[in-house]
């Protein structure tokens, strides 16, 4: 019990440290870099609009919600305090709108598509990988493994382009492509009221279909290969063979002996993949014009909306760090060995 607590505390500290580090990097970029956005803003205000130094500074203070009259250390402290309260100030592009409310509006869509895609690929990949490990001597094993290895190396946005062309551009001899791609921009069609009604849910699903498919296809190969390797090494473990010799039913062996032990090393990979996909979502959402957090980050960057930019980046990092924390806790709960060996170090 004590090792469990120490393990959890250890991982919790690491998670907080990561978030703190990212926050500090952002503060450094905004406030301390030569020609940082605040200094630049003050300069433009003074040069272009002829404002006095004090006036320009006051405007910048308001805009970036930082008290520029304070010392840097005090500013840093105030900044951290705000970040803890998830207060990133107001967006510059849409003045008066808090960054957090924009994030709250966009994030669920990205979570929906990324989450469904990841889950879909995980379920398919894990089952296929386990099956391949059992059927190593069949003719289709090298075929499926080859395709998986191919899929896992192609960049996700190229898969998105292929899907876009296959479903939305090529007419396949008929008059129209399979999906009316220009109708599918955005998260749902105009005229559909968001809520828990069937019309909205189907509409949202159809709009998210191609992004979800992209995430699923780009990840499925990895899961197949990982699970195949993991299952093969588990199948040859003594405890599985001994379970067979004990006359235990194959299904029980699959769930209690093979499945659990083979899944363990993969569960930590889940969080790492999530980080990767969230990064990739920038490009995917741009391609499909899907109004998620990734597209919002791109808009914020090109519009130099610094508060929004840092808010989104921090939320992305937090999402990844928290999920990898959960994955590790999950792993530790499932595997009694891990707490003993990994609790102490790092």
């Amino acid at each position: 019990m004590q090792t469990t607590i120490r393990f959890i505390v250890n991982r919790l500290l690491k998670m907080l440290f990561t978030i703190w580090l990212v926050t500090t990097i952002i503060f450094f970029l905004i406030r301390l870099m030569p020609s940082n956005p605040i200094d630049r803003y003050i300069e433009t205000q003074m040069v272009q609009y002829g404002l006095g130094a004090e006036e320009a500074k006051a405007q910048a203070s308001f805009l970036f919600s930082m008290d520029l009259d304070q010392s840097l250390l005090e500013q840093y402290g105030a900044y951290l305090l705000k970040v803890i309260q998830l207060d990133f100030g107001n967006s510059l592009l849409s003045p008066g709108v808090p960054v957090m409310s924009i994030i709250a509006e966009r994030l669920p869509w990205t979570l929906f598509t990324v989450g469904s895609g990841l889950l879909l690929s995980f379920v398919i990949g894990i089952s296929a990988g386990a099956l391949l490990a059992y059927r190593r001597d069949r003719w289709y094993e090298p075929v499926v493994s080859g395709v998986s290895s191919f899929l896992s190396s192609i960049p996700d946005f190229l898969i998105a382009i292929f899907l876009l062309i296959l479903f939305g551009v090529v007419t396949w001899g008929g008059g129209n492509p399979i999906l009316p791609i220009d109708m599918l921009r955005g998260n749902y069609s105009i005229g559909v009221t968001p809520g828990w009604n069937l019309a909205f849910l189907t509409d949202a699903f159809v709009h998210g279909l191609l992004p979800i498919l992209t995430y699923a296809i780009s990840q499925v190969g990895i899961w197949v290969l990982l699970m195949k390797g993991s299952t093969i090494s588990t199948l040859s473990a003594d405890y599985v063979t001994l379970a067979k010799v004990r006359g235990i039913k194959p299904r029980r062996i699959l769930t209690a002996y093979v499945g659990r032990n083979a899944l363990l090393p993969i569960s930590t990979e889940f969080a790492m993949r999530l980080g990767f996909i969230i990064g990739g979502s920038l490009i995917i959402e741009q391609l499909f014009v899907y109004q998620g957090i990734g597209l919002e980050l791109l808009k914020a960057t090109s519009g130099q909306d610094y508060p929004l930019m840092q808010g989104i980046f921090l939320i992305m990092t937090i999402a990844i760090v928290v999920s990898s924390f959960l994955a590790e806790i999950f792993y530790a709960v499932l595997d009694p060995r891990i707490k003993a060996t990994k609790g102490a170090i790092t």
Binding site: G247, R252, Y257, R260
Partner: protein
């Protein structure tokens, strides 16, 4: 010893599919284990002894296949069945309840993510679905105490919390859980230090007295053979080349290879004899010759040996069976 055969292996051949072709790991092997008998299967690594023992419980590795022969087993109800052609479901009911096995090293024989008690419960439930957990644990505790373990502690521990010797003994208790008729032990002592080895060997002997089952144990350690076995079976290059009661095996081995093995064994205090190893290495099992596989390393070989495989012959006192054209006969 007038006993009935429990397990009869007849003309068993097992092949591995490899890149270079078929590798005959076990070649026309026949072997009998009687009731209450302890049989040792010895030979160098790679001679096929482990393959042979895993074939009995149908856990041959991927790519290995029994090409011919049968494994006849006399069930507790008196009927004899061929394990190789038995339906999988029926076969599963025999496993562990009548034939149990312990692996080489056995350090990872318990499910690493579950407490040891689950391995006991799973084994019992597979054969007696109506047995309650309480009954199973009670029986397990009794057996664990018998193998000199703190039953309470072991059952509630994860495998990684137990030492090697403890796991070995816990596995023995697990093997005896359903009172099997035959226990197969693959290198039961290799991973243990000498003192623990000694304890396990003593324990195995005691348990055999108490439960009266048969052992088949596979080893290359002749010192435990002398302490545990009633009969010794020697394998070389996939073939069984000699079978003999333990005493006369050590005193008068007939086959030059058996003799070589005994001479290579370090003797304590007995005589200042030189430790002699057998020259050469075991043959390639893929390109087999028609002659005796041991001929290239044998100092008694003649031209006959390289041409023809010697048949199994019974010695005059009918104690030994050997496959050799030029055995050590007499003194």
């Amino acid at each position: 010893m007038e006993t009935t055969p429990l397990l009869e292996i007849e003309n068993l051949s097992i092949s591995f599919k490899t890149k270079r072709g078929y590798l005959k790991a076990v070649n026309d092997a026949s072997l009998v284990i009687h009731e209450h008998e302890s049989v040792a299967l010895i030979g160098e690594s790679g001679c096929g002894k482990t393959t042979l023992s895993t074939a009995i419980v149908d856990i041959l590795p991927l790519g290995a296949r029994v090409t011919e022969g049968e494994i006849l087993y006399k069930q507790s109800d008196g009927n004899t069945v061929d394990l190789l052609t038995l339906k999988k479901k029926k076969f599963r009911t025999l496993l562990w309840s009548q034939i149990a096995m312990m692996f080489q090293a056995s350090q990872s024989s318990f499910n690493p993510v579950k407490k040891v008690r689950m391995d006991f419960i799973d084994a019992a439930k597979a054969h007696h679905p109506r047995m309650t957990e309480k009954e199973i644990l009670k029986k397990s505790e009794k057996l664990l105490t018998l193998v000199m373990l703190d039953a309470e502690r072991v059952l509630n521990a994860y495998p990684h919390e137990l030492s090697g010797g403890m796991k070995q003994r816990a596995l023995l208790a697990l093997a005896l859980l359903l009172e099997p008729k035959l226990v197969i032990l693959d290198e039961p002592t290799t991973a243990l230090d000498l003192l623990t080895q000694e304890k396990v060997v003593a324990l195995l002997n005691e348990l055999k007295e108490e439960f009266s089952f048969s052992y088949l144990f596979v080893t290359h350690d002749l010192s435990i053979v002398s302490e545990l076995a009633d009969r010794v079976v020697t394998m070389y290059a996939g073939r069984i080349i000699e079978t003999a009661p333990v005493a006369s095996f050590f005193q008068q081995p007939k086959h030059p290879y058996s003799r070589g093995l005994i001479d290579a064994m370090p003797k304590l205090a007995l005589e200042q004899g030189e430790l002699v190893s057998i020259p050469g290495t075991p043959p390639d099992l893929i390109e087999q010759t028609s002659g005796c596989p041991f001929a290239p390393r044998c100092h008694r070989k003649s031209s006959l040996c390289t041409e023809q495989m010697p048949p199994m012959t019974t010695s005059q006192d009918s104690q030994h069976e050997y496959a050799c054209w030029h055995p050590y006969l007499g003194v």
